[in-house]
Structure formats: C-alpha cells, structure tokens
Symmetry: C2
Subunit: 406 residues, 2 copies
C-alpha cells in the first residue's frame, strides 16, 4: 500500500520570550508534506503571541486549533489540518515540559487528574466516557504511581520490532533478523503481509520455525483488504499463530473491523495509525472492533487528543500499543505509553511499543531499546528536536540533499 | 457551529487541446481555502498531460488522485486532499459532458450500467455492495429511463428551502419567510436549531403555526450535540413534528447517529454534508444510522465517489437528499439527484434537494427553482463555471474585492 515512501516531516519550532523552544512535527511519506507545512502556517495565528504554558493553556491551544470554525469545515478533525495541529500541539508540550525541566512522560505523570481531564476535548465523547469517569480512572491509578515511575526508569517499557518483516526481504533475511531480534531480547516481532498469500505463508512458516512457539508474531496488512478477504487471508495464516492482524482494512471501517474481529477470534485485531481522531477511536472501542489501540503521536492532534484516547482505552480495558517508526515516532510515543503506565492503565499486560531502527540518528534525544525494552527518556521535553545539521541538510527544497549540493 | 462563514471556493479550470474547458471547485467557508488550492496544485501532476475523457478515463483519474500512495498517507480519502480531489474530478466531468454536448445529468444517464460501475472505486465496499449488485440496480432502472428524463425536463425535481430558518432571524422574519416559501410551492422547509432550546421551541412553534401541519419542517443542528443531548433536545421539539433532525452530532459518529435514530424514531435522522467518504456512508447505511443520505458534490471526491454513494443508498433503500447552499453546491447537486432518479433509485419518494437562494448570480448556468422544484439544467457540462467577472473580482488575494480596489 505504501510502495515508495519518502519519509518526511513537517517541522515546527516555537520560540518563547524566555528563550525556551518547543519542537514538534507531523510525519508524512513524501508528497503532501509541503501542504502540511502550509497548513501549519495557516494555524500559526492561533499560536504566535499567545501563552501556551501549563496544562490549562495547552488545553486551550489544542481547542483553538481544532475548533477554528472556518478550518473545521475542512475536516472536522481529520486530514492535513489535523496533522498540522498535531505538529503544533506536540511542540507546545515539548516547550512546556522543557520549561518544567522534565521529560514529557514525567511532566504528564506529575499532573493532577483534574489537570489531565482539562486537557481533553470532551465534545462527542460523553456517550462512552465522561469527565467524571476519566477522573475516577486517573485517581484509581494514583496509588503506586511513584513506584511505576521508578520502575520505568530502571527497567524501561516493553518493545516489539518490525525490522524482520518488511515485504521484499528474502526468507533467509527474515529468518536471520527474526533470530537476531529474539537474541536481543524481543518477545514480539511483526511481519508485513497481504501482497501474495503463498509468500506470506512461506515467510511466516520460516519465521515461526526460527523463533519457536513462545515469541509473538504479529502480522500487518496495511489496509490492503476488504472485509471478506481479510478474514479469508488471515485464516489462511492461522496455523502459524499470528498474535494480531494489524490494519486488515480501511482505517475508517469500524464495522468492518468489528466483523473481522468476530470472525477471526482468537486472533486479535489491531489498528490506529491511520485512525484520524478520538471519535473514531471511541467507536472502535464501543463496537468491540479492536483488541489493541495503536495510537500515533502525530496523526491525531498531538498529546491532548492522545490523552483522550488513552482514557477511552482504559475505560474499555483495551491495551494501547503505539504505532511507531517513520520519522521520530519512536521518540515520541514512548512518552505516551510511559504516562499510560504511570497514570492511566497502570498495567504493562500485553502492552508493547513498536520499534523500527531507522532515522534515530537525526534526533538529539533518540529512542534507545535495550534487551527488547525502550529505555525511559530522561532529557527535558518531548524528544522531538532534530539535530540542527539534519534539519539544514534535508530541508526541502533548498537543503543540500535536495538541491544537489550534498 | 459556523459563526463566521466567509463563503469561498478553490476553483479549477482544465484546458484541453481541443479547446474545451472543464470547470470544478470545492467549497470552503474561508480560512483554509488557500490550502485547498495548494493541494490542487500538488495533485495537478496526475492531470496535466493526461487524457481524462470518457467514463473509463474519468474512473482512472479519480483513482489516481485518491490512491497516490504518498498523498494517501495524509488521509486516506479525507480532509484537504479529498476536497482538492473533488475539485479536479468535478472539473474533469464538466469537461467530458461539455464535449458530449450534454448537461452532466444527461451525460450520466446515457452511460451503460457497466460504464457507471467502472467509475466507482470498489475497494472496501464489497461487504455492503458488489459490482454485480450495482449492475443489477442500474439494469433494473433501465426501463422507463427515457420517460423519467422527459419528466425531469418537463417538471423538474422537488426542492426544499433553508432560507426561512437561519439562527438570528426574528420570529416575525421566520414566519414571513416560511409563509412565502409555501406560497412559492415548497412543501418542505428547514430551521436551524441547537443554540438555545427555548428559542428553538418558540421559533418552531411559530413556523409550524404559519405553515400548518402538512408542510414538512426539518431541523438542522450542525453537529452541536453529544448523543444524549441530541436525543433530549430533539425530543423537546417533537410536539412540533420535525421531519428530520440533521447533523445531530459529529459526522464521524456512525454509532452515535444509530443510537440517536433508534431513540428518536419516528423522527428521522439525516446527515452527510461532512461525511468524508464512501466507507463512512457505507457504515451509516449498514448501521441503520440514517433515514436520509445527504450527499455533497464537493466533500467526497466528486462525481465518481457520489456514484458509489448513490448506489449504496439504493441498495439499502435510503433516499438521497443532497446538501446544497454554499458556493455553487445547488448548481452541482441537482445533476446528481436527477441521475439518481433516471438511473439508480428511479424514485422521487421523500427525495428533495436543498435550495438556498444566494450566490447563484456568479454562475453561468445557475440553479433555478420554480414552484418548489429545481428545473432540469440544459446547458452542456456540470454547471460549475463561474462568470469571468466574478472570478476576477473575488480572486484571493489580488482581486479588487480583497485588494481594496473594488
């Protein structure tokens, strides 16, 4: 489905009068990145000259960006404008947590339940989750929160790796990378599927034989199938014990995912990297359509909207396993999962963050996985800042990588 | 919800080597219109230098625009990029029907069932409607098609008017405009609701008394409510016999609409002007969430995607009553409803096209309503072309209306 990605990001820097900066971005796979930049410029009137510090200010900023009545017509809360809002909201949280001298996950973990609830846009959610129910979830997680912070700083958070399973790898490469992943400490890997069933069966069989029965192998179809095809294809892989089927069909198809999940049980269903907002996640949960919620740090409108999704998932008892990879998504989502553990779900059961080992070299505070676990970030902020050299070299269209002067 | 609309359009002109032109646009309410223009520029590489004539070529163009793998990441099929695709696709159909010397609705009505089916993107639809089922629907409508074309040319298509019911009008003005509408031949009007319940009750009571029990009065909440509020508020208006409640909540909330419809029956539920694609309409129908499908000519990806939605609605037996107003939406949607009557549903039962009487003066082939019915357009094309003087005068940012030289 994504045959020629050209990993890109629309990048935002907020500069505050006190000298602090906030960095944020949204991720794209090439064409259209400049349209996201134009959308960020259009939204900047809601940011420039305003105070965005503190959770109340961050909630106000998020609502201004997503409820601008004329901009809302272009969505609401979806597509290019929402990606642009994500970049700005993420930069504002980076700024706020830098000012506080804390990594974002610790900054979030230090908020009161009331402050967290004030960051959420509750419109359209009350049939599934009310602010009072959210307060109850957050208060129930307060006991033990300090211990879980310490545990994350000591042990990190479980990861899984997609590196062995890209389409186009030879069987030998899949087997070698799968064995290496297990040797590195991963207990879950992921394979891409959906191009050719016989190829999928052969690769999956080889991978399963390589890692044995106890390592979880998820499969990912990247939206390739209609409902019946998703059921038939995944059933044809069942003998190799897939842990979850990811993005079996359109990310908009709530009822389709529900039908697929019902037909494939006990194989689990995961989706979320293209689910465009909190109202869609609400329905995926209401419909019993997913076993795992895969939040994305930059598709919905940044930290605030992900707080709503974490709370919705907790209400329905569904684990959150973030989508990562791309440019900088690993750097960001680790903060959200760690906050989920300290303050929302208070559980690591069946929870893993995706890890893809590329492009981390461009970030000042890169994601680090050791022994199959994400280490807890310690530097202040949301880890969104790219190295100045990378920003200059790859800037489109005038950076040396594009202008031919590299 | 839309307190300060500044009606705008991103406007496309395709120029063919044979001298023909195709005009198309997408509608916005102000800010963000320039982002739609940038998105159209980005998509233009799929159009310039290609042949887009004939239904097969139009199907190919539509799929190129919506399946560009890098652009698809920004959606898929939603938001700014999808609005941009709508403008281009609409322009391509304008060009094709001008070349054929037919108004679009007659051009569509002359296609074979196979040609119509080839215009649709069937991915993700097969659990609700297959190409074979669509062919059967279209073939079943072939008998009597010529008579229905002649009937439309003679009698037009039923309309309803939103003009009496804008928020902010005095009760006296609502009553006067409602009476005028009935005197002009309308059998359905619409009132905006949702700002203040006592105001709504008073205005609705006055309008009902003015028009009597036999004129249908629809109410429109423009997405203001959560599910429970939608049910309570609309129930508090039930004594005045609302025909439908339109956009009671988020356009993304399929399950919310289903819950509202179930609770409010026999009051009917309508939505669609912000429903972003065919997968969402599919689910609204599968979930039994709507009594009326309100297609929009420029929110989904133009004519092709609306063909899919008309066929889905026919499969589920749900009437299509297009959203109109804005800039040029009345001009466009009449073609789609007339094709629905000649070739898909073959029915006028409970079907009406919205009419709002403004901005028609800018179009070369403006919508005309007489006796409460849209007259059938006769000029070749999709009626999308604006007058050259209007395009120049209101061009942003250099036209005299913007530059202060008007």
């Amino acid at each position: 489905m994504n045959p020629d990605p050209d990993y890109s990001a629309a990048y935002v820097v907020l500069r505050a009068d006190d000298g602090h900066e906030g960095h944020g971005f949204t991720f794209t796979i090439g064409r259209g990145n400049d349209i996201c930049c134009a959308a960020i410029e259009a939204l900047s009137e809601h940011v420039i000259g305003t105070d965005v510090d503190g959770p109340a200010g961050l909630g106000d900023l998020y609502r201004r960006l997503t409820h601008d009545s004329q901009i809302r017509w272009l969505g609401p809360e979806k597509g290019v404008m929402h990606l642009a809002a994500a970049a700005i909201v993420n930069a504002a949280w980076d700024l706020a947590s830098r000012r506080a001298g804390l990594p974002l996950w610790r900054y979030l973990s230090a908020l009161t339940p009331e402050e967290v609830v004030a960051c959420v846009d509750w419109r359209y959610l009350s049939d599934a989750l009310t602010p009072d129910e959210a307060l109850a979830i957050l208060r129930a997680a307060e006991p033990g929160r300090a211990e879980r912070v310490a545990e994350l700083e000591r042990d990190g958070y479980p990861a899984y790796t997609t590196s062995p399973g890209w389409l186009g790898y030879s069987d030998e490469k899949v087997v070698r990378l799968a064995r290496e992943a297990v040797a590195e400490g991963y207990t879950q890997i992921k394979l891409k599927v959906g191009a050719d069933l016989e190829d999928d069966r052969r690769r999956f069989a080889a991978a399963r034989e390589a890692v044995g029965p106890d390592v979880r192998i998820a499969v990912d179809a990247n939206q390739r199938w209609d409902v019946a095809e998703a059921i038939a294809w995944t059933s044809a892989l069942a003998e190799f014990d897939p842990w979850w089927i990811e993005e079996p069909t359109s990310p908009d198809d709530i009822l389709g995912h529900a039908a697929i999940r019902k037909a494939l049980s006990p194989i689990k269903v995961a989706t979320g990297e293209h689910v465009h907002n909190r109202v869609m996640f609400k329905q995926l949960l209401q419909a019993g359509a997913v076993d795992f919620v895969q939040i994305d740090s930059a598709r919905v409108a940044g930290v605030n909207e992900n707080l709503a999704i974490l709370l919705l998932a907790a209400k329905f008892g569904v684990p959150v396993c973030p989508h990562a990879g791309g440019v900088g998504l690993c750097e960001l989502v680790r903060h959200l999962s760690m906050f989920d553990y300290t303050s929302v779900s208070a559980s690591l059961d069946d929870r893993v963050i995706e890890f893809v080992d590329h492009l981390h070299e461009h970030f000042l505070d890169p994601a680090v996985v050791k022994g199959g676990r994400y280490l807890a970030p310690a530097a202040p902020g949301y880890s969104a800042e790219m190295k100045r050299e990378s920003l200059q070299r790859y800037a489109y269209p005038d950076g040396p990588e594009w202008s031919g002067n590299a």
